[in-house]
Amino acid sequence: MTDMPPDFARKVDIRLTVNGETVEARVDAGRHLVDFLRLDLGLTGAHAGCEHGVCGACTLKVDGDIVRGCLVLAAQLDGAEVWTVEGLTDSGALADLQDAFVARNALQCGFCTPGMLVAAADLLADGGVPSRAEIREHISGNYCRCTGYEAIVDAIETVARARAGTEAAA
């Protein structure tokens, strides 16, 4: 690739906000978002799992939507707003989900949990009480290798009902 035109840069300058704070960085063009967060910023909440978009452990929020942190390049995020499980935890946005995951024992090893929480929060942000089938569909992209799905679905359903005021929180 020595004859590429000079327009192509191996390092890219980006300025974005992460968990509400402005971050400026010069990143390798191929740096994944999840590696940028984990290795460059020390935000290790999101996990790098399969690194080809299958497992969902790296699920993050970018500009309000959930994404795969392994399938987005940091170089693409100039001007973007990123939220990780740390920031969402500090803001309290996940508190009821986290409490319900603990109450229902909706985790075993916990590797998938940050991605599960971010994916679950995305579903519940739409409001209403999704059916168990809808919950399963929404987290279908998040592997739990301990196969804790039943408890995870329980926890998400509990929070949905509590938020809708149809049942006391667990």
Binding site: G30, V72, S140, N142
Partner: protein, 278 residues
Amino acid sequence: MKAATAGYVRATSLSHAVTLLAASKGQARLLAGGQSLVAAMNLRLAGETALIDINGLSELGGITADGAVLRIGALTRHRELATSPLVASLAPAIAQAAPLIAHAAIRTRGTIGGSLAYADPAAELPACMLALGATIVVAGPQGLRRVAAEDFFVDLFTTALAEDEMITAVEVPFAEPGERQATLELARRSGDYALAGIVLARKADGPRIAFFGVGPTARLARSAMAVLASGGDGEAAAAVLDRDLDPPDDVHAPAAVRLHLARVLLRRALAATQTGDA
């Protein structure tokens, strides 16, 4: 693994993107949603890749009803396809296909242009383009050209795009009044690649049926279409599917299983699109 990248540049306009693409002489790839490309780079299947990021090109976005066609910009995300009222009313097969594409976190990034250019044989959108008789709008150094979907998908991961061309939009004819459409698939895990899938559009002069996941490209089931157009029933159409489809044996399913699933899907799609007087 980590992506191997030979460089990155943000295109600032369509003409800039085309110029960069031409100058790279086939060595650079367009980065749209990146949901297949970055995965391939991470797996080191793509080699050391130079990237032209087209995400900033607003002229590649938008869904509009334009005369008799629904025009969908190449950068339209799968989630937009799933939620657009225009798509739901004018090309319902695409609205049904969009939620079947991967998972929510991938649908927020993946684009229709990227899916069509990649031409994965198990992808939903190429089959939608075939069944709905869409046209792919392509830009290159010589300007724009339009390619019928039937001429666009050439072979496994291979399209009619030249090395210096990119997709800008697709044009999908409106569903006819009373036309019913269905997109169905069977996958081992919701959101995974389909073992077999179908897109069916029941038009006045006969149905159009495209399958995906059962061969090197999405393809029209012309024999089954002919049987149905001449008054044959679903069983007769299913019986001739082996003339239309030649699925591979692979680790996920033997060819006979995929052909069986295609027949199951044809029956289901016909039932789903049955009109009251049919």
